[in-house]
């Protein structure tokens, strides 16, 4: 066997192990009664609806890889879809959802709203994306698979995207029965393309064509570290919508004008993250060409000792490069989830981080974050406890998109995605 082939085979085994480890998060934590999956593996964790979206998207991967029987995958998918379709939709404070959207965090048994959480538009979009992916995959004629398709369509049709505009041009990010719509004041490129595509492609309550343009009007095109990039600091922004949408070669008006596309943009974002880690201007421990990944993740919180006697840990927050915030915490899974964009760099970084800091991997799953700048008690560094469903979900899907492109392929044939992309002005490539 030649070196290159051997390396490639080793990489395959490495990726297989990490993908299977990440996939097993869903099988290990799901409530089979209602298909709900917890936000984290920590005891008492509530359900995150986005994590359920990732679970629904991951089951077909598990089936194709022989890690789960098709009937079991269909059963779990159906349980989740039945739960969401049948659950209470109202403006009551403990309902499961309202206007077709769902609360961000739910009780894993009752499925009712917990933590006083917000009705989340972006997390509902990820849930719907998972439902649509399931409906594309489960194309069989048996009763269960037919019901999956029917329920996914019903779930999607019910979402009132127009209501979520609250009379404005863009989609609001949250709503609470206690106070109404929430102001987050987002500005610039973020992970919401999938949200807009689904809202534009919807069979009912679809938003207007101008909404997408309004959302992209705060984009910033920057030449940074020698790369021309649509800038967003945290890496997850460059990954989440890409879990479902194959952006290779398709371009909206902005990207046409800039002669790039979102896939290529994510590739450049990887280089910027890596360049920042190499420069390491804040002298954080561990950073380097194979130790990067500044993204939303769990990190040490402000109650712990201050880092450098100055910056306190940010807890669960989005880290970003190069403008920060940067408290020394690395989201190792975000480096791995860059696999489709820069396979060699993603694999090298993931390998290096696991080798240097073996405690970041347990049960073949990566921790949400680790912080070598911060030693705690008898540990040489801080590591996030347990696992986060979002981290595992993005790893399963992005490894699969790299290996076979299955999620992308399934949704390239999904009419709402195609319609939504076209209405957003995307052209070219597979579209």
């Amino acid at each position: 066997m030649k070196d290159a082939e051997r390396g490639s085979a080793t990489d395959e085994a490495f990726l297989d192990r990490l993908q299977r480890g990440a996939f097993s998060y869903f099988a290990d934590t799901v409530n089979p009664e209602n298909g709900l999956v917890p936000d984290t593996s920590r005891p008492g964790s509530p359900v995150s609806i986005a994590v359920v979206g990732f679970a629904l998207s991951s089951y077909p991967v598990g089936v194709e890889r022989g890690w789960m029987k098709r009937a079991d995958a269909a059963r779990l998918s159906l349980a989740a879809l039945r739960f969401f379709v049948d659950s209470e939709q109202s403006d009551r404070r403990d309902a499961t959802g309202h206007k077709g959207f769902y609360y961000h965090f739910l009780d894993i048994r009752s499925g009712r709203r917990v933590w006083n959480s917000e009705l989340s538009m972006i997390d509902t979009a990820f849930l719907v994306a998972g439902a649509l992916l399931a409906s594309e995959y489960f194309d069989g004629r048996d009763k269960a698979e037919r019901e999956i398709r029917k329920l996914a369509a019903r779930l999607y049709r019910r979402v009132d995207w127009r209501w979520a505009q609250n009379g404005g041009e863009t989609i609001m990010q949250g709503w609470k029965p206690e106070i109404g719509f929430l102001q987050y004041g987002w500005d610039g490129y973020d992970e919401a393309i999938a949200l807009y595509v689904l809202a534009l492609g919807a069979p009912k309550h679809a938003i207007g064509d101008n909404c997408y343009h309004a959302w992209t009007s705060t984009y910033q095109w920057e030449n940074l570290y020698g790369h021309d990039v649509l800038y967003a600091g945290p890496l997850f922004v460059h990954q989440f919508s890409h879990a479902w949408i194959d952006f290779r070669g398709i371009r909206d008006r902005f990207m046409r004008e800039k002669g790039s596309d979102y896939f290529e943009n994510s590739r450049r974002a990887v280089h910027i993250q890596r360049a920042y880690a190499e420069r390491n201007p804040l002298d954080r421990a561990g950073y380097g060409e194979d130790c990067w990944g500044f993204s939303a993740c769990d990190g040490p919180d402000g109650e712990r000792p201050a880092i450098d006697g100055a910056l306190r840990g940010l807890g669960y927050a989005a880290r970003a490069a190069p403008y920060g915030p940067d408290d020394g915490t690395i989201a190792c899974g975000s480096a791995l989830a860059s696999l489709p964009f820069e396979p060699d760099l993603a694999i090298a970084a993931t390998r290096a981080m696991i080798e240097r800091y073996p405690q970041v991997m347990t049960d073949d799953r990566l921790a949400s974050g680790f912080n070598p700048s911060l030693a705690v008690a008898d540990q040489p560094m801080w590591v996030s406890e347990g696992h986060y469903g979002l981290d595992q979900g993005i790893v399963v899907l992005m490894i699969e998109n790299h290996r076979t492109g299955l999620p992308w392929r399934l949704l390239r044939g999904c009419a709402p995605f195609v319609k939504g992309l076209r209405r957003a002005g995307f052209e070219g490539g597979w579209l």
Binding site: D187, S217, L224, G249, A320, P322
Partner: protein, 690 residues
């Protein structure tokens, strides 16, 4: 009421705008009156930027000492001395602007409250001042929000915060605008536990997102508690402490403080002026003015905070100069043409000039930003002042500066270079060539300019995949299969083809090697991850993809506008099949209709070649670059461009081939096997040599 003699100009308000207007008018020799009801010097001197900068300097000095302290915290800041020093600074600067000095300069200074009594008369106490022209420069005062319990419990504004005798132990700052942030950080650094409450979800909403992010982190490092999207419900006083009830979405909390500082913006001073009597329109946002800063009364103008959106000392003074020119000298100067820089004097400072990205989007101006993080600037690294960046926005496709934001410790000083460049119409290319002293923070601006030059000269970051709508490029590379060696020409068509090829390599399992015909194509191919090898290392080239400047019906071509024709011909002769991709406008009945014939010449034989070519009936010029320097090929040779008369092209080509000193030429008479033609609708047709 006594009536004074008519003044040529009466100015209400002796702040920065009023003082500048008075002096400028006095210098013109006109009779000018200046009316002030409080302190000569205005907000800036007495309560605004001057004392706040003094406080900021002291706080920064203390923070640096704290940072450098090896054995714990340094001696606590002596707040009383700091405030004494601040008042001393204010007194020193105010001497220059004292009423007496203005009087010596020929300005009639009136102290008292002014109000309009007619369209051409102002009354000050019991004196009536008739005027030919008047300027309203009454400035603005601190906005005082109406909140339950706030007035009863007492609070500070920027108008009285500098009179503090003792540093409060705990402070709540209402409003996350520039002034609120500056004072919050300064007082926090001097030892005051500080909380900022802002009702909108974005921090510094008028600044770039990344600038606001950096400042937000800086304030967090100073241990300031920043609460965004938070409203004050009520203020209560209990046992001498102020209890401030807050709500953020549905989360309620209470903060206990000793003082509250309101920095909720500034309200123009338009009340009590009886503007209606003079027919002057106004509302809560200030006096209404047109672009010439004239009010709805044609005799009356306004300047400074009372009418401007940007309420700064320098904008007040600039507007005063415009007003004097327009009011007294018949000028037509427009406020909209003034390029306005500003700076938030936090640590780090945030300075800005010109358009923001969102402004450009609103005006549909395509924009590109060149960014240099301060950690890439050597002087910032040596000074350990690496937080921040320089961002320069240019119009896409040009080096014209539309705006810039600088975040850094010297941002307020550095922004002037870019303001001057914008004012003088100097682009990034010119800035790149201007020597900047090394090592200074200012080199960051040159670095951004050099990034522009690099990006322009090496368009290497093209997308990896060609757009499928580029049918011409896709057709050109359609026949390429794994194992092939592909020649890549130079120029626009070849670039498009290279991108289409890279796209296929990425998506398909397509293994190819490429031979580039120029350094530019080599760089392009590398950037697209296309493997390149030298011509000498390959046995043959399977396919060449190139473009052409003109193609005649016999598929004869002129090439070489990019100066790569010699190498392009060498590669074409090594290729088994040659495809040329052109736009339909390149088709001509006769070569030479629109294109010149390029001839690459040995430098030492330039004159003799030109003479001999002239004898063949060709008129030539030496090709030059845009900056008028002589063009050189990758081989270092000059190029002469010849006007092609109707000649026997085969005979001409043979003569040029045989001519000593000619390295190569752009007549490609039998190289094209296939020409792909793209019409104006993007449709592609084919012509083969049969």
């Amino acid at each position: 009421v006594t009536r004074a003699a008519r003044h040529d100009l009466v100015i209400i308000g002796a702040g920065p705008a009023g003082i500048v207007a008075a002096r400028e008018a006095a210098d013109l020799g006109v009779r000018v009156a200046l009316i002030e009801c409080a302190l000569v010097g205005g907000t800036s001197l007495n309560t605004g930027s001057v004392p706040s900068k003094s406080l900021i300097r002291a706080a920064r000095h203390f923070a640096e000492r704290k940072r450098a302290a090896v054995d714990g915290a340094p001696t606590p800041a002596d707040f009383t001395s700091i405030m004494w020093g601040l008042r001393h600074v204010r007194a020193r600067i105010s001497r220059v602007d004292a009423a007496r000095r203005l009087h010596e300069q020929g300005v009639d200074v009136f102290l008292g409250k002014a109000r309009f009594v007619a369209a051409d008369r102002i009354q000050v106490d019991d004196r009536e001042l008739p005027f030919k022209k008047a300027i309203i420069a009454t400035g603005a005062r601190a906005e005082r929000p109406v909140l339950p319990g706030l007035a009863e419990s007492g609070y500070l504004t920027d108008e009285d915060v500098f009179d503090l005798e003792a540093l409060p132990a705990r402070l709540l700052v209402v409003g996350g605008g520039p002034l609120g942030c500056e004072l919050a950080q300064a007082l926090c650094r001097l030892g005051c536990k500080t909380t900022i409450v802002q009702d909108v979800p974005l921090f510094l909403p008028k600044e770039e997102r990344d600038a606001a992010q950096i400042l937000s982190d800086a304030l967090a490092r100073d241990d300031i508690d920043v609460r965004l999207n938070t409203h004050i419900l009520a203020v209560r006083t209990e046992k001498g402490e102020k209890q401030v009830d807050l709500i953020s979405d549905d989360y309620r909390s209470t903060v206990t403080v000793d003082q509250i500082l309101v920095g909720a913006g500034r309200r123009p001073n338009v009340d009590d002026l009886d503007l209606e009597a003079a027919g002057i329109d106004y509302d809560a946002s200030g006096v209404h003015v047109d672009d010439h800063l004239r009010t709805t009364n044609k005799r009356v103008f306004a300047a400074g905070d009372v009418c401007l959106e940007y309420k700064f000392t320098h904008t007040a003074e600039a507007s005063a100069r415009i007003v004097v020119a327009n009011a007294l000298r018949g000028g037509r100067r427009r406020w909209s043409q003034v390029i306005v820089p500003w700076c938030t004097f936090t640590d780090p400072e945030i300075a800005h000039v010109g358009l923001q990205v969102r402004d450009a989007h609103e005006r549909d101006i395509p924009i590109r930003t060149f960014t240099v993080p301060m950690h890439d600037v050597d002087r910032a690294v040596t000074d350990r002042e690496e937080i921040g960046f320089v961002k320069i926005h240019v119009e896409e496709g040009s080096d014209r500066i539309l705006g810039a934001t600088i975040v850094g410790w010297h941002a307020g000083e550095m922004i002037h270079e870019l303001t001057l460049a914008m004012e003088a119409g100097i682009g990034l290319e010119r800035i790149a060539s201007v020597l900047h002293t090394y090592p200074t923070h200012g080199t960051s601006i040159q670095q951004a300019a050099l990034a522009y030059v690099r990006a322009r000269s090496q368009p290497i970051e093209r997308p990896l995949r060609a757009p499928v709508e580029d049918r011409l490029a896709c057709a050109a590379v359609a026949g390429i299969q794994s194992g092939m060696t592909v020649g890549l020409g130079t120029g626009r068509a070849a670039t498009r083809a290279a991108r289409a090829l890279a796209s296929r390599v990425l998506i398909e399992p397509l293994e190819i090697v490429c031979v580039a015909t120029s350094a530019a194509t080599e760089a392009l191919a590398r950037s697209l991850d296309l493997r390149t090898v030298p011509l000498e290392s390959v046995a043959r080239i399977d396919v060449l993809i190139d473009g052409a400047d003109e193609v005649d019906p016999a598929l004869r071509m002129i090439k070489g506008r990019g100066g790569a024709m010699t190498e392009e011909k060498r590669v074409a002769h090594a290729a088994a099949h040659r495809t040329y991709a052109v736009q339909s406008k390149k088709l001509v009945e006769q070569l030479g209709t629109t294109a010149l014939l390029p001839i690459e010449v040995e430098r030492s034989k330039l004159a003799s070649v030109r003479r001999r070519v002239a004898k063949l009936g060709l008129e030539t010029t030496v090709r030059r670059r845009e900056d008028r320097t002589e063009f050189r090929t990758d081989g270092g040779n000059p190029v002469i461009d010849a006007v092609l008369p109707a000649l026997d092209l085969e005979a001409l080509a043979a003569s040029l081939d045989a001519m000593s000193g000619v390295v190569g030429h752009g007549l490609f008479l039998d190289e094209a096997d296939l020409v792909l033609i793209e019409d104006e609708h993007g449709e592609v047709s084919r012509r083969s040599r049969t």
